[in-house]
Amino acid sequence: MDNSKRSWMSRIGIVVIAAIMVEIISVVQYQRTRRLMDEEMSVRSRVILNSVANDIAHTLELTETTMRENLWEIVENLPYPDSAFTSVRLLIDDNPHVVGGCLAFVPHYYPSKGRLFEPYGHKDGGKIVLEQIAGPDHDYTKNNAYQRVTASLIPEWSDPYYFGADSIRLATYSFPVFDDADSLAAVCGLDIDLSWLGDTLNSRHHFKSTYGLLLTKEGELVAGPPESKVPEAEVDLIVDIINGNAPESMVKGKLIQTTNLNRPPYWQLARVYSTEEVFARIRKIRLQNLLMVLLGLAILAFMINRYARNEKRLRETTAEQARIAGELEVARKIQQEMLPRTRVDGVYGTLEPALEVGGDLYDYYIRDGKLFFCIGDVSGKGVPSAMLMSVIHSLFRTISAKMESPSFILRALNENLCRDNESNMFVTFFAGCLDLYTGKLHFANAGHDKPFLITQSASVLPVKANLPLGVFPGTAFEEQECTLSPGDALLLYTDGLTEAKDQNRKNFGRDRVRELLDGCIADAGMTPEKTVQSLSQAAHSYSGQAPQSDDLTMLLVKYEPGELLQDRITLSNDTADVERLSAFVKDFCGRLELDHKAASSLRLALEESVVNAMNYAYPAGETGEITVYADSNRREVRFTVVDSGWPFDPTTVLSADTTLDAQNRPIGGLGIHLTRKLMDSVSYCRKGTMNVLTLTKSII
């Protein structure tokens, strides 16, 4: 839990870092763009400002030019005082920016007109109204502009001023007028409407916040945008900048650029634009981009998270599957290792589970010169069957170690399986016991497939079916027997063989098995191993691509006794008969060509066992018989001591303690001890009314 939280946090962390980096890149790019645009805007703005300045200068110059061009007519009219009105009309009429004009004659220029004479005209609607305005209450000689021009004789522009009821912004251009005698006759004043300047200044703005101003040298506003647009404080600021002689300045997010007309009246122009407004759009685009990127990252984070979670799940599932597969592999190995690994001549088995582990089993081992073998098929497949299979396997080993009769073995197995069998599993089972010296075969069946008996030809062994193991407690399993001749064989198999399915779900069938076995009999080179392998191959190639439908198990038991040496002697329960036994054993060992030492060992072991039976099998005073069978295949010797006395298992008698000193040594107990020490195996079983003690010893 803690781990997954941490990894989730780390994933979120990565996305956050990515977002921060995107933002940093975006900011850097924005700043760079902004710097470039700032420069560009500044240049462009200045170009516009200069162009406006040029326009204005040009217009003013045009006005002045108009004056000069009309000057000769005024001069020509000078000799005629009343023609002055015509001159004024001429001046006003000729220039659209001129709204009014006057000729202020120097005092007493026309004696007929008295001291002051100033014809004046102004545009009223479409008409030009002319009048003489000089008088006692209007002494133009006191006018500053008049005085400056008459003194300097240089034309000049007045500062702008408001005029009339409409408060029109005007400026007056005053210039001297000389007569033919080159003496100053009058000062001509032309009133110029300045309202067009504002239009010129503010007609080409891309941005709302941008505006242009025209100011006098002293900072008085000549023309500008509609007044609502310009805060007074800003105008003061602009004046400060102009006075500071800075061409441009950046104040509070506004770039203020200034220039002047570079000609009289040397007015100042200022252009102000808000960089904020310009970049507001870019910033908006930037923010939109950023939002898009963040959204993308969020989606990416979500996807990464989902992917990581899915991958983790997948990893966990894969690991779990690998673990189960690993455990199944171990189980498979264990199961294969439970199968008998000691090779016994003439016996070959194979088990191929359909899944990793199977519910089939087979087993075989030799005890007392007898081959105990079995085959079984637990209902179902896979792990549950395999678990029951291993239980049965060990039960078979345990039970058959003490019992010889297959019927008894099955019965004991059945009782064990029926106890607490709540899962209702059952097992078909076949057990056999083949006496390797006699070929006598005892067997019992519990619902398993009937084995094939392979003699001159292959046939089905006539076996009683009986119930499978684990169905009902108390079931009896009839014991059957037959005798195998050397070379005869038995093929045990599970239904994985006969019920191997082809593509069309058809069974391999018993007849096919029989035919194949007949083929094997004809082939002298077929060992049990080769026979089983050829059957397995045949079943697999029959199934083809179809999956193996069931566990495939086979066990082939071939009776190959080799050269046998067999003898028997019947003794009475009198120790004097030991002499006969001694002679019998000596003779038998002589035929086996055993050396004196080996022969003595066998003789002693057998003597001790037989004497034991002579002494204890029958009640005192009662005569009884003891029969000794001696068998050998030149690899092993087997003695079987049979009596019909009381049930008595000498193998349960405690061995003498051979570590005690002489004084404490008991007299008895040495016999069975010696037998055990001298022989490879000593086993007892009660068969009917007989005690059967079997001794074996390898003589290779």
């Binding site: 120790t575 030991v578 030492k597 001790e608 000193d661 002489a662 040594r665 007299i667 001890h673």
Partner: protein, 100 residues
């Protein structure tokens, strides 16, 4: 199975020859009875010709040893062959008898 008993240099020497199996044991028991009256003399059992011994024979030897020990006599087994020696080994008798 043949047994002889002689007294040589103050020791009782019993010679066993042949096979001391269960059938021969009762006779040997009778034949060796004089050893039980050794009266403190050491006993030597010459096994040179003893070819075989069964547990009944071992019991016989054990009886002789126990009686001898009671009267303070020693019992020595002489010239034990390999087959008999193996049996004595298997039964732990090698640790309670003296050998020569």
């Amino acid at each position: 199975m043949k047994t002889t008993i002689q007294e040589i240099d103050g020791k009782i020497v019993a010679t066993l020859s042949g096979e001391l199996d269960t059938a021969a044991a009762p006779q040997a028991q009778t034949d060796l009875q004089p050893l039980l009256e050794s009266k403190g003399k050491d006993i030597v059992i010459d096994c040179t010709e003893l070819e075989y011994i069964a547990s009944s024979g071992l019991r016989l030897l054990l009886g002789i040893l126990k009686d001898a020990k009671e009267v303070g006599s020693r019992v020595v087994l002489k010239n034990v062959n390999e087959v008999v020696r193996d049996v004595l080994d298997l039964t732990g008798f090698v640790s309670i008898f003296e050998f020569e």
